[in-house]
Symmetry: C2
């Protein structure tokens, strides 16, 4: 047993085989989280709460009656999910929420299945940024090199998984917040199709873009977790008629498009790793140029700012000092936009969908790097790649916003490391509502690139 | 044969039986449209275009090779649908469109099925009003009493059907524009679920509320027409994955809710007719009170104004005099709204859906009057009913906006006449995407109330 490096699926097998107990697994998690406290992964975790859950799970498993495959598995929760036992702050001082015995639907689903709700992870304040350097408890540190950022906004969740503190973690994704830190920390992260997974009990950033997602150490782990995420939830109207998740095995050769274009530049290093990875798949990947990416990106930003401001308006008026200066500036920007500007942005979204579905050669999976560069160093304001100089913030959402603007399911898988030893991730995108097909195709990629089965 | 009063289905049967030819039917239509020109139903129709289509249809039918059930049936088209052979003006001087050999998808479908595209009908300018008294060719007149209005915005289509000029007509509905004039003129009008019918080639009023719909003299006629309206159209992204229409026969007793509440008042006369009609169905109809209707209504208005202004912005800047003063005032209102106000309105829409699906006792059909009063007289600015005094415009959309704000399928069927002999319609609403179920239930209503089979 390799508690640090095992995937969740391996932990599930080890628990079932009695190689260790849920209690010893929880104790190891607590120990590791404390040992690596300098990574700043957690806002809070509580030994007694964790051990109490683990004892009950241990008894169930010992008596041969586990209630689900994930019974006894410690799972970390981003600090914008409501949890019955932990406070929720979204790493902001603006309006902390005391535990009120309410779990977000996904947390409730996991808890009911016996998972150990381990603690709340550090995040970019209100998820309103992709670096994870703006947080009321300070920045997260990349486990591959603490001088580098993790990306965000689900940075703490990525650290907790990548450094072997927990079996898996929950993130949320409005412009890449699951995928960005997953890629930067060398793990797997999945954003389901908009509206297939419940956001009930997750503090919103931008409700027409937000999607919750699992972060884990293997594709198999992601697939074990998705039934707890997906399907109709009467408390989240965006999930109206949403199908539950059922893993499938794909037959047939997927049609792969390798996207590029002005606004989708990447560093030579990342480009090479991605191209080599695609080669390993032995699949034909046609290069396809997207146009008008800047217009779509500005539409995504407009929707994001307007919806975020709409959600935070009361707090912004009552307690402006509760927000960090940078978050407050974003929120003020949303107040100045007109209804006509917002409608233009919403029309761009429809136009993007049209181009993805009707103007491109038919495809099963779209390929992009998840990030244009490996994780930057702390303190760097700008990044240069592909002939561009952009803010570190924009370099993080560079490709990822595209998945939220279009609502398509997106996955990041690790495919290599940079010269400095930092992880590089590949993003795979599927068609709307076809999350199962995307994951089935991703298994082919993962197998041929990483040898994972 | 009763050319004036036959339903389309009866005309179809008569054509098939050789009782008359498509050509003589077209000649009768032309004659009748000219004879009743004072009703002001048409912007334009062209004898030679009509007769040319009818001759070809006559030959097909005579040779025993009709290409569809509606081969040879004259159909009138609201003047906001693009037509290959007629200009399109939306009854405004702002930006008339010359025929460019382009049909709206629905027109193209009907034309391909052999229907005679008869002419373009009078409408409320840009569909931006529900009285049909604002039009660059003047108001439509109610065929039951020319001193009364028809309602709108598809007023000309309603007149053309109600007075037996054509077999059926096309309308569009953003706040009731199919249902209002259908009810006021004693015919059947149907608004499909938002996103199940193509709007490609229909000039928009408010794209997130607009739905096209058929207007006819029977429920059977509506069901014959719907396959030409519904299903996925690559040119209209709102129809993504939309199912085509397939009529079904309903078994089981429908659960009926009779809606009322503050903002849903109606005149005593209309209330009595509706209650008597419900009694005739012998179905149990539970009264159900809706709350917050004013908030939802204001949300509908906000969405309408913003989207209409967004669409017309360039024309408003280039050619403001092209619009009537009242339409221009509406469009100017849309410029003053903020992104945050629009988002509140969009949130209200989500909240309305939630309340309809999750907070009400389960239902199969919702019942309302289509209009709170029979068709008002021309020249009346205000209406009084149920203890309220409201503008004639607001009295027309009084119940109907609710179907667009929620996106649900809505039907109006005639159920009685007022003391003055003006028609009174009942509105039936179904669940989203369940248009077929709604129509199956409506057949039960129609049979028991009107003896229609």
């Amino acid at each position: 047993m390799h508690l640090k490096s095992d995937t969740m699926s391996q932990k599930i097998a080890a628990l079932a085989a009695g190689e260790y107990s849920a209690l010893s697994l929880a104790e190891h998690s607590l120990e590791r989280a404390k040992k690596l406290a300098s990574l700043n992964a957690f806002v809070t975790f509580d030994d007694s709460l964790v051990l109490k859950q683990a004892e009950v799970a241990s008894q169930r498993i010992a008596s041969g009656r586990p209630i689900s495959p994930i019974d006894g598995i410690p799972i970390a929760v981003k600090d914008n999910y409501l949890t019955a036992d932990y406070p929720t702050t979204a790493c902001s001082d603006a309006r902390p929420i005391a535990p009120e015995n309410i779990d977000a639907t996904i947390v409730a689903n996991l808890r009911a299945a016996g998972a150990i709700i381990f603690g709340k992870t550090n995040m970019h304040e209100w998820a309103y940024g992709a670096t994870n350097t703006t947080s009321n408890i300070g920045a997260t540190k990349n486990p591959y090199n603490q001088e580098h950022i993790t990306g965000g906004s689900s940075g703490g969740s990525a650290v907790a998984v990548a450094s072997g503190m927990v079996g898996a973690a929950l993130g949320s994704d409005t412009g890449g917040s699951v995928r960005i830190p997953s890629s930067a920390c060398g793990i797997y992260g999945f954003k389901p199709t908009y509206g297939r997974a419940s956001r009930h009990g997750i503090l919103p950033l931008s409700w027409s873009l937000d999607a919750p997602g699992p972060m884990a150490r293997s594709l198999a782990d992601i697939e074990v977790l998705l039934p707890f995420f997906m399907g109709q939830d009467p408390h989240d109207p965006s999930t109206f008629n949403a199908k539950p998740f059922r893993a499938i095995v794909k037959t047939g050769t997927p049609r792969v498009l390798n996207l590029y274009g002005e606004g989708f530049e990447r560093s030579d290093e990342v480009d090479l790793v991605i191209r080599q990875a695609i080669e390993k798949t032995e699949l034909v990947a046609e290069d396809y140029e997207l146009t008008d990416l800047w217009r779509y990106f500005s539409g995504w930003e407009t929707i994001l700012h307007c919806e975020a401001t709409s959600y935070h308006l009361q707090a912004l008026e009552k307690n402006p000092e509760g927000f960090s200066a940078v978050t407050r500036a974003h929120l003020e920007a949303g107040r100045r936009l007109s209804a006509l500007e917002l409608l233009e942005a919403q029309k761009l979204r429809a136009s993007l969908m049209r181009s993805l579905y009707y103007e491109m050669p038919d495809w099963d999976v779209l390929v992009l790097p998840t990030l244009p560069i490996p994780a930057p160093k702390h303190g760097e304001d700008c990044q240069e790649f592909g002939g561009r100089k952009v803010t570190t913030q924009d370099s993080m959402t560079w490709f990822c916003w595209f998945g939220n603007m279009s609502g398509l399911p997106c996955l990041t898988i690790p495919v290599g490391v940079s010269e400095l030893g930092l992880p590089i991730g590949m993003m795979l995108m599927g068609k709307a509502g076809r999350d199962e097909e995307l994951l089935a195709v991703a298994r082919i990629f993962d197998q041929r690139i990483n040898g994972c089965s």
